[in-house]
């Protein structure tokens, strides 16, 4: 379906561009971001190609990341990234979705906007500030609560990330909740359903896909976060023992790239391996964002609802 609309749309576009010079200027502006995206992808693939040809699957599955001995096994790093992000989502999904339901359905109308903007404000705090608070406040706190030597652990990073992705999750799932047609709610209430029954049986099923999308967007935001994670994750390139031990330090991919890129000799295997890791990260976020996009597009409003 997409390709057909492309076939129809493109000739239309070129007709416009020929007849209207100003629209051509607008076209150039609009294509800028697309071109940049393609160029960046090309650049990352080119720089990372050496690592993929020399290391192959070792870059993804290898257990040892040792620059000194030219060993670039990315598994502990990718594992660290996924561990931190899933921890963050485990915390922020219930928190975010409950918040958005509360804001959209329970909070009095007059208070909605102020509370919403307070949560959005969280997104405007620079990530280095989160990292700073994590290092100076959260890490010592976690160390003393759990009796650890150091509070720089996967759990600390997850906690910081959870707060950072909260605005994304609250914002997007809030949108989908308010997109539920008012008639559905009114119908449910008129049938004698309580507020909670309405939320559970009408609003939640209808906004399920939007909430899933918000989680995916949050995932994309979390896995790309660098500075805050670098400051609190502890940075040990090993899969924790046991693998689900959240109180152990991890070394997420973004932290490794930020840490080593400045020092890597251009064109070396190390340099290329870092780009390779970047490409893997890129593919992961791209896949997740695409899935989110597809889900958002088929929003099932208009389907019958069972009370």
């Amino acid at each position: 379906m997409e390709t057909r609309s492309f076939k129809k749309g493109l000739p239309k576009l070129f007709m416009h561009l020929r007849s209207q010079p100003i629209e051509f200027v607008l076209f150039l502006c609009a294509s800028f971001s697309v071109v940049i995206l393609l160029l960046m992808l090309l650049f990352v693939v080119m720089e990372g190609s050496l690592a993929f040809t020399r290391l192959g699957t070792q870059l993804i599955l290898g257990q040892m990341w040792k620059t000194n001995s030219d060993l670039y096994g990315g598994f502990p790093l990718i594992y660290g990234s996924l561990m931190v992000v899933s921890g963050a989502l485990l915390i922020s999904i219930p928190l975010g979705i409950c918040t958005s339901i509360f804001i959209a359905e329970i909070l009095p109308f007059q208070l909605r906007d102020p509370i919403k903007s307070v949560i959005e404000l969280l997104a405007s705090i620079p990530s280095v500030i989160y990292g700073f608070i994590g290092v100076t406040f959260l890490a010592p706190l976690i160390a003393s609560i759990f009796g650890l030597q150091s509070g720089a652990t996967a759990f600390t990073a997850s906690l910081i990330l959870a707060i950072m992705v909260l605005p994304t999750i609250v914002g997007v799932s809030g949108e989908t909740i308010s997109a539920v047609p008012i008639e559905y709610k009114e119908a449910a209430l008129a049938l004698g359903a309580s507020k909670w029954q309405t939320i559970r049986n009408v609003i939640l099923p209808l906004s399920k896909s939007g909430m899933l999308a918000s989680v995916m967007l949050g995932f994309g935001r979390a896995i790309g976060e660098t500075v805050a994670v670098l400051m609190v994750a502890g940075n040990v390139a090993m899969v924790p023992t046991p693998p689900w031990n959240y109180l152990a330090p991890v070394y997420p991919v973004t932290a490794v790239i930020a840490m080593q890129m400045g020092e890597a000799a251009v064109g070396s295997l190390e340099y290329s391996a870092l780009f390779g890791l970047g490409l893997i990260l890129f593919i992961i976020t791209f896949a997740v964002n695409t899935i989110a996009d597809v889900i958002v597009r088929r929003r099932p409003v208009g389907r019958s609802v069972q009370l």
């Binding site: 000194n68 290092v135 940075n235 840490m259 020092e263 000799a265």
Partner: protein, 318 residues
């Protein structure tokens, strides 16, 4: 419907054309005044061209505080000059000097063979200017011991993960796991440390080491983590950590990184800090004057203020 749209687009297109024109006029006038002013200064007097020059410096985070303080002092002394200093590590210092991205690089180690080859390929010669003396200090959290003495090999075994508990090193030390803190690969401090402590014994840093991106980050980690050990440049030692006395080998004297011991190279991990340029800077240029400034008594004073050691007036040992 079409007519309405085209009417709307004429209005928007007018607005856009006006805005574009404004931009063009703005840029053009900026460019014009810029050339006007700069040509004035050039005509004014040939000799003072450096007074309006700007240079950029990048590289080792160890050298960064020296370069930064000197740049500020220099710019205060000669208003109009502009010196930008950024970190990134010795590796970045060398690569950006070779690529011509910056005018001066900072390094806490001599260039590696790969960097020398790189420079040769690009047809530039690296010029190294020693500007200060530094020592890599092995530091531990006070919880380990208030006075710790180790041989280089013992330190190596700790960082290689052969000793994992402090009681493995010496039974009198606490029976607690060792928290090893290292710098990122490519760091000059790490390079120097490994050259003296790890490589002679064929050790490699343990997987369980905690990586930190800068001297201050290592400092914070050591200060706040019980039973931790790490290494920092001399200028980053604080009273909240214990400096370890080192001996080259068992039986040799244990030596603290004091000023005399570093200047005489008795302390095992002493090193020079460098500024690097890709060609010899033209005499009288800003880069040339800045390097001269750091080497002057005034600049060396700043080196000392930042916690490093002045260059000995004569080569050590003479």
């Amino acid at each position: 419907m079409n007519r309405e749209r085209s009417h709307g687009s004429i209005q928007t297109s007018r607005a856009i054309i006006v805005m574009t024109l404004l931009f063009i006029v703005g840029f053009a006038s900026g460019y014009y005044t810029d050339t006007l002013f700069s040509s004035q200064t050039v005509v004014w007097k040939e000799d003072v061209a450096w007074r309006t020059e700007s240079i950029s410096i990048s590289g080792s985070t160890t050298v960064l505080p020296i370069a930064n303080a000197c740049a500020i002092a220099f710019m205060n002394k000669y208003p109009g000059t502009s010196i930008t200093v950024t970190g990134g590590g010795s590796g970045r210092g060398y690569s950006e000097v070779i690529d011509g991205v910056v005018d001066i690089g900072m390094a806490s180690r001599p260039p590696k063979q790969k960097e020398i080859n790189d420079a040769k390929e690009k047809g530039v010669a690296l010029w190294l200017y020693p500007i200060a003396l530094d020592a890599v200090c092995v530091v531990v959290h006070p919880s380990v011991n208030k006075t710790l003495k180790l041989t280089l090999q013992e330190v190596g075994k700790i960082f290689a993960g052969i000793y994992t508990r402090w009681s493995d090193v010496d039974p009198s030390l606490p029976d607690e796991p060792i928290y090893v803190v290292v710098r990122e690969p490519g760091s000059g401090t790490r390079g120097t440390f490994e050259e003296y402590v790890m490589e002679p014994y064929g050790y490699d840093v343990t997987d369980a080491a905690h990586v930190r991106p800068s001297n201050p980050a290592v400092r914070t980690t050591i200060e706040t983590t019980p039973y931790s050990i790490g290494y920092v440049g001399l200028g980053f030692v604080t009273s909240k950590m214990v400096v370890v006395a080192l001996a080259e080998e068992e039986g040799e004297p244990y030596i603290y990184p004091s000023i005399e011991n570093i200047a005489s190279f008795k302390y095992p991990i002493s090193r020079y800090l460098y500024l690097v340029t890709s060609t010899r800077p033209e005499s009288g240029s800003l880069a040339d004057r800045f390097i001269d400034f750091i080497l002057s008594p005034e600049g060396q004073e700043i080196v000392e203020e930042q916690g490093f050691l002045k260059l000995p007036r004569y080569p050590a040992g003479v």
